[in-house]
Amino acid sequence: MKEQEIIDIVNDVFEESFEIEKEELQADKNIFADLGLDSLDIVDLVVALQKKFNVKIRNDERIRNISTMGDLYDYVALLKKEGVKPV
């Protein structure tokens, strides 16, 4: 999966789950301070990402280190590279 493809799919998740406008979804945007997600929204986000990418990441500690959209794109790219087991 190419980098841009991952970015597009992650952005789709944000648009579908939170109705955040595409223009807002930039790599440097902070998920909490700029986009307004809170810890409970992150749970919803993880569920949506699991469904979209067909992976199981609910208990992955690395999620705690994600703060920007860029971090999230990198994280998903890493998952794909690692070949995380499907749900």
Binding site: S17, F18, F32, A33, G36, L37, D38, L40, D41, D44
Partner: protein
């Protein structure tokens, strides 16, 4: 001048609190002995509201003036969730204007204030930082089912300016589950009353209660969209209030 004002107001509030403390204790004992737990809590919450009203209406006047506007007086809203912007630590006192049985959802620090902290704890105020999510949801839902309204400051921390922070969504998840009205409250003028260093300045603080948002209006939305919907209503109204001021 500002130090004089701070010393004057804090002194008068402390004196008032010390003066009524013995009567409060007697009143609480009286309530506890004669009434059921539910009535005890109801009266105690009313008592706290009156304490707040005396401070915001009388003790700080004329240096700090407060004005409350209810734009939908005839609405039957209780039990509901009041959602207020949070510019200053004086915001919780302003909820005394609301003539309802209210529990405030606060951070942990108000519980450390002498006397007030004890009263808040006794009245069942919720310290959201000290609770697990599930416990918070269960407590909030139970209070609403008992007919008690909730007062929340979803920014979580005071902004100290006219900018509004992002909202936390927990209280909106409760609203979606319990299907109760959400009532936006807009406060302006207290960004520096007091400052983050608790220095008081003179000025006029205005609070406006907006029409309720009923479940039918928000039932098909997600917690994320709901919190931003309410946040935008408050942003627009506070901007309008600032322009009128």
């Amino acid at each position: 001048m500002k130090y004089f004002l701070s010393i004057y107001i804090y002194s008068i509030v402390i004196m008032f609190t010390v003066l009524i403390a013995p009567f409060s204790i007697l009143y609480l004992i009286f309530l506890k002995i004669l009434f059921s737990k539910r009535t005890f809590l109801k009266r105690l919450r009313r008592f706290i509201s009156w304490y707040g009203i005396i401070i915001v209406r009388i003790l700080i006047f004329p240096f700090i003036k407060t004005k409350f506007t209810d734009t939908a007086k005839k609405e039957k809203i209780a039990p509901c969730i009041f959602v207020c912007n949070h510019r200053s630590s004086s915001d919780p006192f302003l909820l005394s204007f609301l003539p309802y049985e209210i529990i405030q959802i606060v951070s942990d620090w108000p519980f450390r204030i002498p006397v007030l902290g004890v009263m808040a704890k006794l009245a069942g105020y919720i310290s959201i930082k000290e609770m697990k999510h599930d416990d918070f949801f269960a407590t909030a839902e139970e209070l609403l089912r008992q007919g008690v309204s909730l007062g929340a400051f979803p920014e979580g921390t005071r902004s100290g300016s006219n900018k509004m922070g992002q909202f936390h969504g927990a209280i909106f998840r409760v609203a979606l589950k319990v299907k109760c009205p959400i009532v936006p409250l807009c406060v302006i003028g207290n960004e520096n009353i007091p400052t983050r260093d608790f220095i008081l300045n003179s000025g006029t603080v205005k609070m406006k209660k907006l029409p309720a948002i009923y479940y039918d209006k928000y039932k098909d939305t997600t917690p994320f969209k709901l919190k931003n919907y309410v946040r935008n209503i408050i942003i627009e109204e506070t901007a309008r209030m600032e322009n009128e001021a």
